[in-house]
């Protein structure tokens, strides 16, 4: 067979090879020790030097061509095989992922952090006190003597009387924390006290347990005007509005003098409450200058120390800010409610990143 024929024959076989195995067989059959080209190489020995040079060169060219053809074909076959494999490995990416529960943080917890962010920036630390309180901290020290009508109006949960005649109660407000804080510190004092409170009351808008946040500032010079400023700035920051219209009304609380209640202006649009616009008023908190008797009960001298306090419903401001209609649902642990009104784990309120 002429060299030309041999070349054509081999190259067409290379081209026809459909897998790497037949390609390898072809390599052995051509370039292998006993392959057709190797056999011809061996025959060069019998030739004259001139013939050998000429035939040898031709054979080497052929050998290189075949080797390259084999290599090219091998890469092509590998590509084809990879394409085939990839095609066979296709998945349906529209299928759902493995289920993973997605958790939520309760709105009251979220609002707790929001309030702490705002007051923390003003230097208020977070104080706490027990839920099971005594008459002294919940009433007496707050200028609510036993016969005071307010004491009856508090709808207090009591525990049973003890052998010594005393009885514990569930705190009806977060104000006992004022007393505990005063007794344990020296002025100036800046605290907020968020936490659970309890009243023996249950209807459409009241639950026997609810959450309040108390604020207390004591120094030598602070005034009601400072309190108005703090409350106004708080409302703007908390409700995330540039301006909020507030109404400060004279009121009465045994533990403050002067006392004031604060209303915030709102509108109702499409069933949703909107703060900062409108012409309706909503009461959001009670406040005032700490009563001299309370300062005294806290172990401080009302002639030297003065300050203010406020208390508002954490649940209530959560309802207002996030448009949550029903207070009772806060404590029912209904998964549908928790998932709908809850906050994502990483949705941490910060002053830098925003509070909602």
């Amino acid at each position: 067979m002429s060299l030309e024929h041999l070349e054509q024959d081999i190259l067409s076989q290379v081209e026809a090879a459909t897998d790497e195995a037949s390609l390898e067989a072809l390599r052995v059959a051509t370039l292998g020790k006993k392959g057709s080209i190797s056999e011809r190489m061996k025959s060069l020995g019998a030739m004259s030097p001139d013939e050998r040079r000429e035939a040898g060169a031709a054979l080497n060219v052929l050998k290189d061509k075949v080797a390259e053809a084999l290599s090219t074909r091998k890469i092509a076959l590998q590509e084809i095989a990879l394409e085939a494999r990839l095609a066979s490995e296709r998945i349906d990416v529209t299928l759902p992922v493995r289920p993973q529960a997605s958790g939520t943080v309760h709105p009251v917890s979220q609002v707790w952090e929001e309030v702490v962010q705002i007051f923390g920036d003003l230097g208020f630390s977070v104080a706490e006190g027990p839920h099971i309180e005594d008459d002294f901290h919940n009433f007496d020290a707050l200028n609510i003597p036993p016969e005071h009508p307010a004491r009856q109006e508090h709808d207090t949960f009591f525990f049973n009387e003890k052998a010594d005649g005393s009885r514990m109660l569930l705190r009806t407000h977060t104000s006992p924390v004022q007393i505990r804080t005063m007794l344990a510190s020296v002025p100036p004092v800046r605290i907020i006290a968020p936490g659970r409170t309890f009243r023996c009351d249950s209807d459409m808008t009241h639950t026997p347990m609810f959450n309040q946040v108390e604020g207390l500032l004591l120094d030598e010079t602070t005034t009601l005007a400072n309190l108005k400023w703090v409350l106004t700035e708080f409302c703007k920051a908390f409700f995330e509005v540039d301006d909020v219209k507030m109404r400060f009304r004279a009121s009465h609380f045994p533990f403050t003098e002067p006392s004031m209640e604060v209303d915030i202006q709102y509108s109702r649009e499409g069933g949703q409450l909107k703060i900062g616009t409108g012409d309706k008023w909503l009461e959001i908190l009670g406040s005032g200058m700490v009563h001299p008797n309370v300062i005294r009960a806290g172990g401080m001298d009302p002639d030297k120390v003065q300050g203010w306090a406020f208390g508002m419903g954490l649940d209530r401001i959560a309802m207002l800010k996030y448009g949550i209609p029903d207070l009772r649902a806060f404590f029912e642990a209904d998964l549908r409610w928790l998932r709908h009104y809850g906050f994502r784990a990483l949705q941490v309120p910060t002053l830098a990143g925003g509070l909602s």
């Binding site: 759902p96 702490v116 099971i132 659970r196 023996c200 005007a225 209904d334």
Partner: protein, 797 residues
């Protein structure tokens, strides 16, 4: 406290509008709850004159009327049976909105006749449910008179919420005084001219208390009025009482009610003919009874004050009268009581007997003692005017209790406490307008407190008076200094743990709930609670009777409720307090979670798996780690409190004395008792128990790494079933602390004969040179020896 505008104007000379008055009330601390103003609602409706009413040409039951209105003569078709010639009625002209329907009236053709206006029924104007005919008004009203005027509804009713410190505002005169001080009019002086008595009262009064201690009733003023004629009171009086929600009864009773509301001065009128002997104020005898005007019978006890005659109690002092001596239409002689009763005793009595009356409401807050005689005089004059008769001389026992006291208000104090810039002259005039006797000194205003202000007890109260009349809205907000330029951290370690635990739970997929701090007693008992000191004396229901000893029962109950709603798989968590006793130290902050159903539900990728105790263990450890607990060093021991499965639960502790929490399957008996279906696993950790960080600075220890590759060796040991994996791992780890960087269990299976095969992978981290095979073998031998020694296990071949 309710009153009407015209009633207020009896005492307040003012030209201000109802809106201005309401704004003023709110400003001075008398919160307006409601204003019902029919005049405003009916402002578009006027009186019209039906000059002719005849049968409709095409309908038997309709009438065709000619009506004279303020806008000229109109033709009106009307179906009312009382639409007749000559009557005056209320007309709706085109364009007005009908209150009952909210629709705008427009002319229409009815059975071929044009009706250009509408004659209104009471129901259409929301005055009553009456719809059988049209409204007829007195013919004296000219055409065009506003409907509210013609109907006597032009006196707006204002309902204010009076704070408990302000008994003076429980009389309309007191409200007028506040408004006058606010600058909304002039307070009219009261006509307090005494009525001259013409005879001696046949009934004497006395204060009859042990040891003459007249604290329960220091003053009793009586007056006998004979020859009166009782009966329905005049229309104007009835209208005012009705407007504030009171039912007119008879002139005598209505007068006492009128004075109660006008002046905050409760009175009682006895039918003198029914009084036996004299009247005395005394303490009740134990077991005495009284048939009261509310038609209930009350059994009295000795701490209560009564007004009694020789026959026994006739009234409960300051609270309610009795039926035996009450006035009726036949009453001709009346004995009028005006007394002063101790607020505390009145409140206690009212509470104990469960009686809420207008009198109690006022006496327990503090009625003006100095007004006792004045109130009696005003009432006497009113009785004489409306019922006729003649009055006796006043009979009186005791004396007006002194309320005299003076407090100094530093002239600078309104500014330094309220931050309000109120000139001293204004301070003076405000206080004077409120009735204070003001005496200006060099640096102070010395203020004598009026008898009607029992709430004023010091300088701060005087500041409040000035501030509230000046208007809190008029105090400009004053910025405060920042304690430091950049805010400092404000949370304590426990608060930070709470936040971290909560966010960790949410990131693991838990839905955070807030459940009641209380629960039913049987649930408390299931979880180690139910102690007497944690039981509420007055629970709102038996479902909320005890303080919770753990967060778990309420979460488990919530899981039950949610599964009843069709949720099979759930993760519920709570971060909150549990109560082990009633002392502050017994309240601990905890984080707890429950998982019910499957960890990953049925899905296309396979691998659905029911929750198990290891999920709860992972949750507990994750929360503890987030809370800063040294999780690598905690001990996990078998066994947990009784509400867990005894063989599938564990306790996490730093040592036997410091338990951080527990986890595991909930005991099937507990689930059965709570009627909640499992599988249900839970954990609860006590955040108070997590040790605080010992780090003193933010600097981290230097990082020590080796460039040498770690290598690992597997070992399988046969051990007794009872051997805990943790023990084996610890032994292996301890075999060469320098070289062994990690030991993990990767396989476990039960063998015959009470044995278990436990396979561990040990990672060796060479520090300074590659380990040789003999060195590796030496370590391996040490590991096997250590495990064998600790567990009695043998290396599997």
């Amino acid at each position: 406290m309710k009153f009407t505008l015209s009633w207020l104007k009896d005492y307040l000379d003012t030209t201000t509008t109802i809106d201005e008055i309401c704004e003023g009330l709110v400003g001075v601390g008398l919160e307006v709850e409601d204003v019902s103003d029919a005049g405003r609602l009916l402002k578009d409706f006027t009186v019209a004159h039906v000059t002719l009413a005849e049968k409709h040409p095409n309908a038997d039951k309709l009438r065709q009327c000619v009506v004279e209105t303020k806008d000229g003569v109109k033709q009106v078709v009307c179906g009312a049976p009382n639409a007749r010639t000559g009557i005056k009625a209320i007309i709706a002209l085109p364009g007005v909105t009908i209150p009952a329907t909210g629709a705008v009236f427009s002319p229409a053709t009815i059975r071929g006749v044009e009706s250009q206006a509408m004659l209104c029924s009471e129901r259409e104007l929301l005055i009553s449910d009456e719809h059988n005919g049209i409204i007829e008004v007195d013919e004296k009203w000219p055409v065009g008179t506003p409907a509210a005027t013609a109907l006597g509804l032009d006196d707006p009713m204002i309902y204010v919420k009076v704070t408990p410190n302000r008994p003076d505002a429980l009389g309309i005169y007191g409200i007028a005084r506040d408004l006058a001080a606010k600058g909304l009019g002039k307070l009219k002086p009261l006509d307090v001219k005494p009525v001259t008595g013409t005879f001696d009262s046949p009934i004497a009064v006395s204060l009859d208390f042990p040891n003459n201690d007249t604290k329960p009733c220091p003053l009793f003023v009586g007056r006998y009025i004979r020859g009166v004629k009782n009966g329905p009171s005049p229309q104007w009086l009835q209208r005012r009482l009705r407007a504030i929600g009171l039912r007119p009864i008879s002139t005598l009773v209505d007068i006492t009610n009128y004075i109660t509301f006008a002046h905050g001065r409760p009175l009682h009128a006895f039918d003198a003919a029914k009084v036996s002997g004299n009247i005395r104020a005394r303490l009740a005898k134990d077991g005495e009874t009284l048939e009261a005007l509310d038609n209930r019978s009350y059994t009295l006890s000795p701490e209560m004050t009564v007004i009694a005659d020789d026959a026994g109690p006739e009234a409960i002092a300051g609270i309610i009268g009795g039926t035996r001596s009450s006035c009726t239409e036949e009453t001709t002689d009346v004995f009028l009581e005006s007394a002063w009763f101790d607020p505390l005793r009145t409140a206690a009595t009212g509470r104990r007997l469960g009686i809420n009356s207008d009198a109690r409401y006022r006496f327990e807050r503090g009625v003006d003692p100095a007004f006792t005689v004045t109130g009696s005089e005003i009432a006497t004059r009113m009785i004489l005017e409306l019922c006729g008769g003649e009055a006796s001389h006043v009979v009186m026992a005791g004396q007006v209790p002194s309320t005299s006291r003076i407090y100094s208000l530093r002239k600078t104090r309104v500014a330094s406490l309220a931050g309000a810039d109120v000139p001293v002259t204004s301070q003076k005039s405000i206080l004077a307008a409120l009735g204070f006797g003001v005496n200006e000194m060099a640096d102070t205003l010395d203020c004598a407190v009026p008898s009607w202000r029992p709430d004023i007890h010091g300088e701060a109260d005087l500041v409040e008076e000035v501030a509230r009349i000046h208007g809190l809205d008029n105090i400009p907000p004053q910025p405060m200094e920042r304690p430091s330029a950049i805010a400092k951290p404000v949370l304590n370690p426990l608060q930070k743990r709470m936040l971290a635990a909560r966010r960790m739970l949410a990131s693991r997929g838990f839905n955070e709930a807030i459940t009641w701090a209380f629960l039913p007693e049987e649930h408390a008992r299931l979880f180690g609670g139910g102690q007497a000191e944690l039981k509420l004396a007055n629970p709102i229901s038996s479902e909320l009777s005890d303080m919770r000893p753990s967060l778990l029962p309420n979460l488990i109950a919530a899981a039950g409720r949610n599964s009843d709603r069709g949720f099979a798989d759930m993760m519920l968590a709570e971060v909150g307090h549990a109560y082990a006793g009633d002392a502050p130290k017994d309240e601990t902050l905890r984080a707890a979670g429950i998982r019910r159903g499957a960890v990953t539900g049925r899905n296309v990728h396979g691998g659905a798996r029911a929750v198990d105790a290891y999920d709860a263990k992972a949750d507990a450890l994750a929360v503890l780690e987030a809370a800063g607990a040294p999780v690598a060093n905690v001990q996990v021991i078998a066994g947990a409190p009784s509400w867990y499965h005894p063989g599938r639960s564990g306790t996490i502790q730093m040592g036997p004395q410091n338990k951080l929490g527990h986890f595991g399957e909930i005991h099937p008996r507990i689930l059965a008792a709570m009627d909640v279906k499992g599988p249900l696993v839970a954990f609860e950790v006590i955040l108070n128990a997590v040790p605080g960080s010992k780090a003193k600075s933010a600097t981290r220890a230097a990082l020590n790494t080796s460039d040498l590759l770690p290598l690992s060796r597997d070992f399988a040991f046969v051990v007794d079933d009872a051997v805990e994996a943790e023990k084996l791992v610890k032994a292996a780890k301890g075999a060469d602390k320098a070289l062994i960087s990690d030991v993990t269990v990767f396989d476990l299976y039960k063998l015959e004969g009470g044995k278990t095969s436990l396979a561990i992978e040990v990672t060796l981290q060479p520090k300074d040179k590659t380990l040789t095979e003999p060195e590796i073998e030496a370590v391996s031998a040490k590991i096997v020896a250590a495990v064998t020694k600790a567990t009695g296990g043998t290396l599997r071949s």
